[in-house]
């Protein structure tokens, strides 16, 4: 305790210099925490988005993920209702959503465009996907009778713009059936949706899954998306499925979330490099401060050595000083981070849209205990290590030389 007190007095010896170093450590600490907190928040958002989009686990025909279909729903799931009923009993499951993927032409009478359609249970989709469903105007409407009456569709905002269509307008879908003939269907636009991806929004059409099956003249579905209660159930549930549904191919959300994975690897590299640069800055600053202190105290080191202090004890003293600088920096840095995180929502800062996307997202940062522990330890360790490095030689210099130093 007395040794730490002495170390603190030594830190305060050159107040301004130490303060600058502590501030650099603090700002470095905060920069790392805020930047990685931002990356973390982005990951969480992307995970959430991916999970909402694909479900935690996607079930499909064994060839669905690896081979191109020669005709629509060639690799579709047969008898999905039975499977859905069976899986619904598992209490880890929130919902199971069948989807039919198809494509064709969409027309307003004057102009035809290619669309990528999804037949899905739109109400349950919007419940499970929440804000990620991206309804921008209009509403989701389900025909009371799926065999007769009006057929409603949700259309990508960009696609609707190209066709000059608004909710309430009528459009025609043209698609190839599973047997290879052409089939057409008139739909009423009930709402406009946006995924945040401009390229997707130019092609997007959602209709009810039963209507999609009717258009394609099939009773198959392309995939079943299983939504679980907890992210951490994914592995266990996947293992169970492999045993209970052997005839199907499985993909977890991670295997499908290419965008998440590529953003993560990009951000990891960017923020890793940033962290490295900040760490180097802190290291150099601390080395500089302590090296000056060591030189200034050469005579004192010589005196202490003459009194019978071992070099290791001298080094330990400087390491305690490094530790205190690091600790002060980290404490200040965490306070600073807290202040930044706390005040961010008040500024409502928007990040520009990431590459390929059409929408920005709010600049928010997440906090994670392991991140804080690792960052704080790292900075303290850097300071202690710097102290060790700069005092090691000086503590072993010839004593007479050190005593003669002015």
């Amino acid at each position: 305790m007395k040794a730490l007190l002495l170390a603190w007095k030594n830190v305060l010896r050159n107040r301004r210099r130490s303060l600058v170093t502590i501030l650099i450590a603090a700002v470095g600490c905060a920069a790392i925490l805020v930047a990685s907190g931002f990356a973390l928040h982005t990951y969480e958002m992307l995970i959430e988005g991916a999970v909402h989009e694909y479900g935690h686990i996607t079930l499909a025909h064994p060839d669905f993920f690896d081979r191109e279909e020669d005709s629509p729903l060639q690799f579709g799931v047969i008898g999905h209702e039975a499977l859905m009923t069976r899986l619904a009993f598992d209490n880890r499951v929130v919902d199971i959503l069948p989807r039919v993927s198809f494509s064709g032409l969409i027309s307003n009478g004057d102009k035809s465009l290619v669309f990528l359609g999804t037949g899905a249970d739109l109400l349950r989709e919007s419940q499970n996907r929440g804000q990620f469903f991206g309804l921008v105007s209009g509403s989701i409407r389900i025909p009371a009778d799926k065999k007769e009456g009006n057929i409603y569709a949700l259309v990508g905002a960009a696609l609707a713009r190209s066709l000059g269509a608004r909710p309430g307008d009528s459009l025609t879908l043209l698609a190839t059936t599973t047997s290879g003939s052409l089939n057409a269907m008139d739909v009423e636009v009930s709402g406009l949706v946006s995924t945040g991806w401009e390229e997707l929004d130019k092609r997007l059409v959602y209709i009810d899954v039963a209507l999609a099956q009717r258009l394609l003249m099939t009773d198959r579905v392309s995939t079943l998306s299983v939504y679980l209660k907890k992210l951490k159930d994914v592995e266990g549930f996947r293992a169970d499925l492999l045993a209970t549904a052997p005839g199907l191919a499985l993909r977890t959300w991670q295997q499908q979330a290419f965008y998440y994975l590529s953003v993560k690897s990009l951000y990891n590299r960017i923020f890793g490099l940033l962290g490295l640069i900040i760490a180097a800055l802190v290291l150099f600053s601390v080395i500089n401060t302590l090296a000056m202190a060591v030189v200034e105290r050469t005579r004192e080191i010589g005196t202490l050595r003459a009194l019978g202090t071992y070099p290791a004890e001298i080094v330990a003293q400087f390491m305690r000083e490094g530790f205190l600088i690091g600790l002060s920096g980290v404490i200040l840095g965490n306070l600073l981070t807290g202040a930044i995180i706390w005040s961010l929502p008040y500024f409502a800062l928007e990040m520009p849209p990431p590459p390929g996307r059409s929408e920005g997202y709010p600049l928010l940062v997440s906090a994670s205990l392991p991140l804080y522990v690792v960052t704080n330890l790292l900075i303290i360790l850097l300071c202690v290590g710097a102290a060790w490095a700069v005092s090691r030689r000086a503590a072993r210099n010839p004593i007479v030389e050190a005593l003669g130093h002015v």
């Binding site: 010896r13 004192e300 003459a306 009194l307 019978g308 202090t309």
Partner: protein, 234 residues
Amino acid sequence: MTNLPSKPSVAQLPALHLRRVAKQYQMGGEKILALKSIDLEVPPRAFVAIRGPSGSGKSTLLNICGLIDHFDAGSYQLGDTDVGQLDERARTGIRRFRIGFIFQGYNLVPVMSVYDNVEYPLFLLGIGERERKARVRDMLAQVGLDAFANRLPDQLSGGQRQRVAIARALVKAPPLVVADEPTANLDTATAKQIIELMKNLGARFGSTFLIATHDERMVVHCDQVRHMVDGVLQ
């Protein structure tokens, strides 16, 4: 309370015994023979002064006796220990337990109070808090600084600082105290007090004093005065 249990066998030996000790410095291509075959035998508890002109080798000799410098030839026995055989770690250990230093420039640690400066050597010896406190208090009383325990060194006069240094050197009652020009920075009256203080406390703590000095007045207090000229002890 500050009596050091002295082994009888060590007490009979000379406190230090140098035989044909030589030391040379290398200055560029030139060799300077700073010490030429020094023979010196100092009995325990003696108060010995080394006098001589500037550059004669007094400091070099004291540094060797205090184990903060190495010699090139000869042998040096400190009490029962042949110093020439020791590695750096053992030499540090000997300084820690058996040697006190008083410097011309006081060399107190500026961030430590008077009390802490005097306590430091006891820390190194691993002495417990209560005994440390008693011994530091006693020592400060002996040098007349009990009222200054909480001051920092730069709040003291030169004479007071040197008293603190004396207290720091003697608090562990070392067999040997090495003092290189301890009064050179002090005015005449203060220097006289410091000399007397060292002499008295040396006797009380049973320490052998080896002092390099220009000071004439030192002579009357000394058991032995040796003259050094050009690296030779006369």
